[in-house]
Symmetry: C2
Subunit: 151 residues, 2 copies
DNA sequence: TTCCTATTAGAAAACATTTGCAATAAACCC
DNA sequence: GGGTTTATTGCAAATGTTTTCTAATAGGAA
């Protein structure tokens, strides 16, 4: 959970024999500028980029999102919508979690400092190198509780 | 996170105007008998049932898994394999979480009592009715750390 | 038992994501 | 800077998972 700049991203990519491309730089930038609490699907990102005149192909987007998630730059979120969402992976004061209604997918973010500590300790104990840790709560929101019937 | 029997499942389904079918009963039973720590994908379950002579169609399996997850009977796990996995949702002493290697998908289960408490408190505070809460840790396992290069 | 309608199986469709390939262009070396 | 190597891109096609449609079936309530 480091904070990345184009330069540090390039350094880390090159270290592994990979390359910093304009596409990767642009995508990193989009996520860095994204308002706190927003997250994008691959399709969202595709349209976002198209709209701002920097068209990047969907396959490159998919490849880049996966790459950046595996590097720990992005968090991959499963919010129950049938496709993944991504957001920048930020350290301590911004680190947060999601409470999701299983019926309407309404999602609330919340923070809790002890979770990151637990995740760090657990990964360390097993010798894993931590990239991200997220508590996902599946629940039924107040309005869906009232609308009892529909699944 | 209640413990279900065929009878209590029937009661809860009927309450909502739904039905207990042999298929639903069989599927519940499979998950109840599953060794602790195992989880099944839709396809896994399909073949498991086929093998034991109780063929159930894939579409019914998908519908039932979704239904039971939304009822809180099953937990839906995203273990990075491109499809969901399911396991029975059990209360306190069996409640656990997953540490996943983002490269090879090797998964380790771990327990931590405070997480469920945090989840319960958070859901309650927002007026949500809790179904499940899982901490997912994404990390790189020791052997994938050594094999530095491949993404 | 009868009726109503939720549920099923099977096939087809929809959707998200990955892959193959030829063209392009970063990074490294001189 | 120019040349070489090969990672990366875009596009199209393929893959894999999950959902949806429909007619037939069978739970549940009276």
């Amino acid at each position: 959970m480091t904070v990345y700049t184009a330069t540090s991203l390039k350094a880390e990519l090159n270290d592994r024999g990979w390359r910093l491309t304009p596409q990767r730089e642009v995508i990193l930038h989009v996520f860095q500028e994204l308002p706190k609490g927003e997250h994008l699907s691959a399709e969202d990102l595709y349209h976002h980029l198209e709209a701002q005149g920097e068209g990047i192909s969907l396959s490159t987007i998919y490849r880049t999102l996966k790459l950046m998630a595996r590097m720990g730059i992005l968090r991959e979120l499963e919010l129950g919508e049938g496709h993944k969402h991504y957001e920048i992976n930020q350290p301590y004061p911004y680190h947060h979690h999601h409470l999701i209604c299983v019926r309407c997918n309404k999602t609330i973010e919340f923070k809790n400092d002890s979770i990151l500590k637990i995740g760090t300790k657990t990964a360390q104990k097993e010798g894993y190198h931590l990239l991200d840790c997220q508590l996902t709560i599946h629940a039924v929101c107040p309005s869906c509780q009232r609308a009892l019937l529909p699944l």
